[in-house]
Symmetry: C2
Subunit: 264 residues, 2 copies
DNA sequence: CCATCTTTGTGCACGCGTTCACAAAGGCAT
DNA sequence: ATGCCTTTGTGAACGCGTGCACAAAGATGG
């Protein structure tokens, strides 16, 4: 899962809770699938299962949008698809720029999900002059110098950052200065943006680390029953114990092959 | 941000709240950066700023791990790096397999962040026979037939799914059957897994849709001040007002251009 | 050794999000 | 029309997460 949401401390935008907004795309996807199978109506129970949530939660979520169901019957699939699409702002066209056309940026550009619902890749931008002009996913890569004019000319308000961590903040600043007010950040950095700009981040290594935590916990539960009491965490094996001071030397140690790029 | 977290209704694993676990990688990254600049100690205030959170929250988060700070001074950077790494299970090696070596899968394989901290790409797996043997990011792509043996032989417990949506559940089932207990899913589908298996999902289009929602709201606030009162959302252009029952026929109405491809 | 200053660790209160459980509402059969 | 059955919409309770604000703890200087 992308983690995310910076700024806007869970603002209940126009009555719709942030948590609900985050689930609407999920419902929409499930509904679209039903629509393709020409299913006319669906109950909260069925839809909830398809979306992987609790039916009570789903009904409450929908209640924030209005009363779109029919008691005793369920929800009209097509109607709901439209309502949610409209609520999410997907009935209009959103031009998007992707900055940083490396492996990830190229993958994003090729990703079908982009174009599918209201999003249109307006331009691919990269700082490498050698990339300029080369076609990626059918679009010619533009040089960073053109960033501002591209944003302005295409009226872009959503930007995707797929650059190395080091360049992210700078790119972000330029995007914002040029008029972008929503940013999806794939670079492993905390971006600071002015009030009114939304940032969401997708961070692979954070997700993996969270999984590792749970994985470790599972493994620990099998072997050791109740490892350490309370203040537990502190002590450790004798010799190899890296004291705060000693630790520093690492970084090129155990995993000396770590590409210096992209911290983690 | 990757969204996510399936199953495990916010279990407070060993006393550490899920929300805190999700922030530990953030702190770790900030601390690693400080460590590289040889900064010996850091205050909760400074570190919080670097990680983009509130200092009180940070202190509370750390309090779940133990009392690792020194009042009047702050936290020892190296020591904290080690403690958090250990808590997240990053002091051990986690072999990972990536299934689905398309654009995204290849990008992930090349992503440095993988190897950097305890994670090692054990194998790249793809269903396309033509891909088999071809080197990607220095590793030969293996065919799906080998999936089970690869998992078993390398003792893999974390799997990354980067296949098309249609194949995701099937791949997931096989991974789980072979012994994987943590899955990072990039495919736009809800995966169902047995108890005890953790799934986190990273979904580009969901993130974009959430941004679009806020973007639309911003745009709406500028022009219209207080659009509609409360029960608001419902009404719309006269004739086209679709009642729940009438709705069915719609879907091709006002916005008849909605592409039926790739749900969202 | 004492006073002062800094920064941690946490008790407490508040608000969001989730879930339960049920009354209201509509369809359908008789 | 009437009654039964299904499913929605929501009031209310609960629990997690956040942030305030302060007491405790340690460092530092005289």
């Amino acid at each position: 899962m992308a983690t995310g949401r910076t700024h806007r401390p869970a603002t209940r935008s126009r009555g719709i809770p942030e948590a609900t907004v985050a689930r609407l795309p999920l419902y929409l996807r499930a509904l679209t699938a039903l629509s393709e199978r020409s299913v006319p109506t669906v109950s909260s129970e069925e839809l909830a299962t398809a979306a992987g949530v609790n039916s009570a939660k789903l009904r409450k979520d929908f209640s924030y949008l209005g009363s779109y169901g029919t008691r005793g019957v369920g929800y009209d699939v097509e109607y709901l698809v439209y309502q949610i699409s409209r609520e999410l702002g997907l009935t209009q066209d959103w031009p998007v720029v992707i900055v940083g056309i490396g492996n990830l940026g190229a993958a994003l550009a090729n990703y079908g999900g982009f174009a599918s619902r209201g999003f249109r890749v307006a331009a691919l931008i990269d700082a490498d002059p050698a990339m300029a002009g080369k076609p990626v996913a059918g679009l010619p890569v533009r040089h960073t110098d053109e960033l501002e004019s591209i944003i302005t000319d295409n009226d872009v308000s959503i930007g995707v950052i797929a650059t190395p961590a080091g360049a992210a903040q700078q790119v972000c600043d330029r995007l914002v200065a040029a008029g972008v007010t929503s940013i999806l950040n794939f670079a492993p950095t905390v971006l600071s943006v002015p009030e009114g700009v939304d940032v969401r981040k997708v961070d692979l290594s954070i997700e993996l680390q969270i999984l590792a935590f749970h994985e470790q916990r599972k493994a620990g539960e099998e072997t050791t029953s109740a490892q350490e009491p309370a203040a537990a965490v502190q002590p450790r094996s004798g010799a190899a114990v890296r004291t705060p001071a000693a630790g520093r030397a690492a970084g090129k140690g155990p995993d000396g092959d770590v590409p210096a790029v992209m911290p983690a």
